[in-house]
């Protein structure tokens, strides 16, 4: 699992290396249309199509989790993007070529957003919900044990734990104060969870955007391939 994660990070780094450093060392007018250029383009597109297996298996076949690992989707997507960057040889002249490349770039960037933010939000939400459940259980249990505690409702006293009865019993007063702090912790966690849930809801839109970008890339890819065949491939006899 760790090795797979490292692999995706390596390909992510490679993508940016090809994108930025390639601009300095690999610019060619003719490479994209040459035989090796076309082979790279075809291989890149093949990997992008392989990446599509993930949403197909998830949405159509209903396979999730270990049966359908996201890492493989990221790996194929990044590998395809790297090959396409080399195929382009950083020649951006035709409108179709530019749109196809931009669609790929935006799609990769949206994938990065998904990989780093969406997954983190989901994990944080899961952890916090677990913590909240534990805290609530502990709070209910302690509250039952400390029935004698009565909390002041006047503003300004709560944080300090003032007004906690019975007076004079120091241990009891401390326990009541801890219970109050626990109640505050629960309230803060509930607020935090609601913020994470709002972010998650926002990210459900991100998935739609990712799908939309994928469709846009595929449409541009089809036009790119069709125009290449229509206007002629030089290296074919």
């Amino acid at each position: 699992m760790v090795a797979k994660k490292n692999k995706t990070d390596v390909f992510l780094a490679l993508f940016f290396v090809f994108l930025i450093l390639g601009y300095l060392v690999h610019q060619s007018e003719t490479f994209a249309g040459s035989f090796p250029g076309h082979i790279l383009g075809i291989a890149g597109s093949a990997f992008i199509f392989l990446a599509l297996l993930y949403p197909f298996r998830k949405r159509v076949l209903g396979k999730r989790g270990k049966e359908n690992p996201l890492d493989r989707h990221i790996l194929y997507g990044l590998l395809g993007a790297c090959l396409v960057v080399v195929h382009s040889a950083h020649k951006f002249s035709s409108l179709i070529g530019v749109l196809t490349f931009l669609a790929l770039l935006v799609l990769v960037l949206s994938g990065i957003v998904g990989k780093f933010l969406y997954r983190k939000v989901n994990r944080a939400l899961r952890v916090q919900k677990g913590d909240l459940k534990l805290l609530r259980e502990h709070f209910s249990k302690t509250k039952e044990e400390l029935k004698a505690c009565q909390f002041a409702t006047e503003q300004g006293n709560e944080r300090e734990g003032e007004g906690i009865v019975p007076e004079g019993d120091q241990d009891m007063a401390k326990a009541c104060k801890d219970l109050l702090d626990e109640a505050y912790a629960i309230a803060e966690m509930e607020y935090s969870i609601s913020a994470f849930e709002w972010t998650k809801k926002l990210f459900s839109k991100w998935v739609q955007v990712h799908y939309l970008l994928t469709f846009f890339l595929l449409a541009m890819l089809v036009v790119h391939v069709l125009t290449t065949f229509y206007y002629g491939i030089r290296w074919l006899p």
Binding site: S93, S94, I96, F215, T227
Partner: protein
């Protein structure tokens, strides 16, 4: 109503993308990889050169370019009469001022003389059969070694510059360097080895000691 809008919205977006794709395919300019050279910029129609689904054919080039009568061609391009693989040497869409020719010598037949296009740097000293030494893929001669220092046949390949045929220049050299041989036979200019060494032409055998 809201759920209907939710269902229609993605369909509209997808239809818009598909429409854009169709428009891009139908619009000639969208696939244009760069401006044509000044010689071809007047051609407005892509299909004038690109036969749909068949690439650029030689026939499309020959519809405008005439090579059937060799006598009408400049000497350097007479080989066009023999071989017609236009796209092997000519490229387009590289800008108005771009060079659109890169000659592929492997396409030429044996009758073509190199000197029809190339200047003979050897000034005829080596004859006209350039391919005895030079290959068509590289001008450099593999494994060539300059003759050793003892070789005295410099003039077989090298020609002395004009200054060496100037009497005043030559008399100064004879006066300075060949005083011992003065009065004897005049030293011929072809005996390069008397002053020059072989690994670099500018390297002289004799030191200029002006006090001498």
């Amino acid at each position: 109503m809201a759920s209907l809008r939710k269902k229609i919205f993605p369909v509209v977006i997808l239809a818009a993308i598909a429409g854009l794709a169709v428009w891009l395919f139908l619009d000639d300019k969208a696939a244009n990889p760069g401006p044509l050279s000044s010689a071809h910029e007047e051609i407005g129609d892509c299909e004038a050169c690109h036969t749909p689904w068949k690439s650029i054919t030689d026939e499309a080039c020959l519809a405008c370019h005439e090579f059937s009568d060799a006598s009408s061609l400049r000497p350097v391009i007479r080989f066009h009469e023999e071989e017609r693989f236009c796209l092997k040497c000519h490229f387009e869409h590289r800008g108005l001022d771009a060079r659109i020719s890169k000659v592929d010598h492997t396409l030429f037949n044996g009758n073509l003389q190199c000197t029809q296009c190339h200047l003979d740097r050897h000034e005829g000293l080596f004859g006209r059969e350039c391919r005895q030494c030079h290959e068509i893929t590289s001008w450099r001669i593999k494994g060539f070694r300059h003759p050793p220092e003892g070789d005295t046949n410099c003039s077989r390949c090298h020609k002395a510059p004009g200054s060496h045929y100037d009497d005043h220049f030559w008399s100064l050299i004879e006066e300075a360097h060949f005083r011992a041989e003065k009065g004897k036979k005049k030293i011929p200019v072809q005996e390069c080895w008397r002053c020059h060494i072989t690994h670099k032409w500018a390297h002289m055998r004799m030191q200029h000691n002006l006090s001498d």
